[in-house]
Symmetry: C2
Subunit: 409 residues, 2 copies
């Protein structure tokens, strides 16, 4: 759908509640695109009809000037919105909805049902009933199902689970997703430092996070910016966004050419030069394999930053085996190629392939862990910036071995 | 955790219901690992304590002989299990739980609540109340919240939503995940061809699917088998699993070497040979960029197999712009490198870089679409099998241009 088709279609939504609902489902680009043509009043009206966590997303996608003037026109909800906007959008605080249904510890099941019925209109998705103490601190949780199957006079405290799984508002959204997925939760409460209930994050938002993070990782691993996935960009803009990611490859390629010419004075370059691509390819692909396993391992929590050495050691041993296997195979090819005049080409190629593969497996497995430790996204480790570095090391290793075994100077 | 640590830990779970619950949460490898040491009676007892959809997973992970003998010892539940096992595990039928709570159309809200209370013990996660007609066909859905806020005498048909989003049992699990994510559902009913209610798929299972599919895509894109992610494999087995994925790179590398030597007779190979890596790298990286965008686009439904031409055309134009940019940059480098003796090296390099990038963007964007149309997983398009092919084409293009512009024969 083009931008103008979308706008036309959206303008056909005359029911304003429906329009607000549709807006809440749209992604950031579409929200930006649709709101940019609206008046301040129209945006304010839309926001009024949304739940606070959805409204926050829309507000975040508004131009800066419009955002501030909108915030001043919203009366009661503005504080709530402002509180939500204070948390970065990729944290638990940014994901949560403050519209959480809580009941005091002193209530019975029957009283809770009555409160639920009174408030039901405002609460779009109630999954659990959170029980709070007199100081608004989360003390337990009751499922709706439990509420239904106990007599109305049962005190909530006697049916509630007091061991509640919760998250703090500054938690990264990936961690929140891990908690919700691990415990198969429908919603997870967000709790402040004093134990006070701040809001809830529902499973549908978590599902969006998981999909978003997977896409983000994939795009970073492929060396494409996140924005490159947006269909609204012009071809020129897309090329511009992707241009920078390829710089490393171009600069690395020029460097590789310099190395080729420099070593050309010392080694029979017309004999060994043809195998540069396979040395780079084997090292690079093993590096991407190890890197991908490390990135996934970090994302799922299986590879820990502290226990990372064990993972790198495992990958190094896998690399050694792969290196010996392919070193032998390509060494035999080199022997056949160099047979007669230069039988040592076989040995050179064999050793170099093995070195490049071991290098690839060690760098590929350790770089994501180091990047993660340094606070960067480990997914960039398989992108062009890092793989180019591995390529250059592989070429230097190959030519150095060639110089020792076949060198003329 | 090693396999023996896990077994020791699991044996500490003396509460058998808890043991069954833990087993249901474990992944395939861990289930295989733990059940292999159990007696038939122990496994049968575990399965008895699980929900049918979780039990199916455990049964699927048993050795063949044990599986059949187990199925014969399970009395009442065996038919249900057998029905579930009939669906491939990556379809809606394989994901669904047949323990769905349904109520006849003739019931009132009050009657539904009473039935819910009677059955509550067996139903671990009730999200919606499904309403069926006299022939067991799905006719509507009521949320628990709606059930709570209406007087008990209200007929279900007057509060139910009759426009129910459902899936067929043969649907691929990725499609199910898309439906659940798009409509923010907690559960989606699975409905047979005659409209009969077969089971439900809950959002926690969908979350697992989304994570699983993202990992699968990522591993395929990196050219690692799915099993390579399992920490239980020995280093030798891991190397064995990854060996095959690198064959294409090795064979392609030998072919590239042959091409290098064959063209060596016609072109000044010691001058142009050093730039082979950058030609391959630029084409390959742009191919991976386009390929990743195509794979994501197909997964999210943004790129359609039928409308794929528009996407390829967009990528081709992006490729043209990138090719012109980097062709110019690397062409200038070639001009400087070949200055004096061979100024045409600049032109050769410029044209070849541009060609390789355009080739990469067209093949990278179209191959996933073609693979998907042929029923294969589009994610393999960025793996070593395909990228090696693109590399070879890039080298041939480069040397052919060199032969025309710089050739001596």
């Amino acid at each position: 759908m083009t931008s103008s088709e979308r706008r036309r279609l959206y303008s056909l939504l005359t029911d304003k509640d429906r329009a607000a609902e549709v807006m809440a489902y749209l992604d950031d680009d579409a929200q930006r695109d649709l709101t940019v043509e609206m008046t301040q009043e129209q945006v304010a009206d839309l926001l009024d009809r949304m739940e606070a966590d959805d409204a926050t997303d829309v507000v975040e996608n508004l131009p800066d000037a419009l955002r501030e003037s909108i915030m001043s026109t919203l009366d009661g909800d503005a504080d709530e919105l402002r509180d939500l906007l204070a948390w970065p959008s990729d944290t638990a605080g940014g994901l949560m909805s403050p519209a959480v249904f809580s009941t005091p510890e002193t209530a019975t099941c029957g009283q809770a049902i009555i409160r639920l019925q009174e408030m039901a209109e405002d609460l779009d998705s109630v999954f659990y009933l959170y029980v709070v103490d007199s100081r608004d601190r989360l003390s337990g949780v009751v499922s709706l199902r439990k509420l239904l199957i106990h007599p109305p006079s049962t005190p909530l405290v006697s049916v509630m689970t007091s061991d509640v799984i919760s998250v703090q508002p500054d938690r990264d959204q990936e961690e929140v997703a891990r908690v919700v997925a691990r415990y198969d939760l429908l919603a997870v409460p967000v709790v402040g430092t004093a134990g006070e209930l701040l809001g809830i994050i529902t499973v549908d938002d978590v599902l969006d996070v998981v999909q978003e993070e997977a896409v983000e990782d994939m795009l970073l691993m492929a060396g494409v910016g996140e924005d490159a996935d947006s269909p609204n960009n012009s071809v020129f803009r897309l090329a511009q966004l992707r241009f920078g990611w390829l710089i490393a490859t171009a600069v690395g390629g020029m460097l590789a050419d310099r190395i080729y010419h420099w070593y050309g004075a010392y080694i029979p370059i017309e004999v060994v030069g043809g195998l540069v691509p396979v040395i780079m390819g084997m090292g690079g692909n093993v590096g991407i394999q190890s890197g991908t396993l490390a990135i996934r391992g970090i994302a799922t929590g299986r590879v820990h930053v502290k226990g990372g050495a064990g993972f790198v050691w495992r990958e190094a041993r896998v690399g050694l085996l792969l290196g010996l296997g392919y070193g032998m195979l390509l060494g035999l090819y080199g022997l056949f190629l160099g047979a007669g005049s230069m039988p040592l080409v076989g040995l050179t190629v064999g050793i170099s392939v093995c070195l490049a593969i071991i290098l690839g497996s060690i760098l590929g497995s350790s770089l994501p862990i180091l990047l993660h430790r340094w606070g960067a996204d480990p997914a960039i480790a398989t992108g062009p910036f890092v793989t180019t570095g591995v390529d250059i090391l592989g070429i230097v290793a190959y030519f150095s071995v060639a110089r020792v075994l076949l060198g003329s100077g």
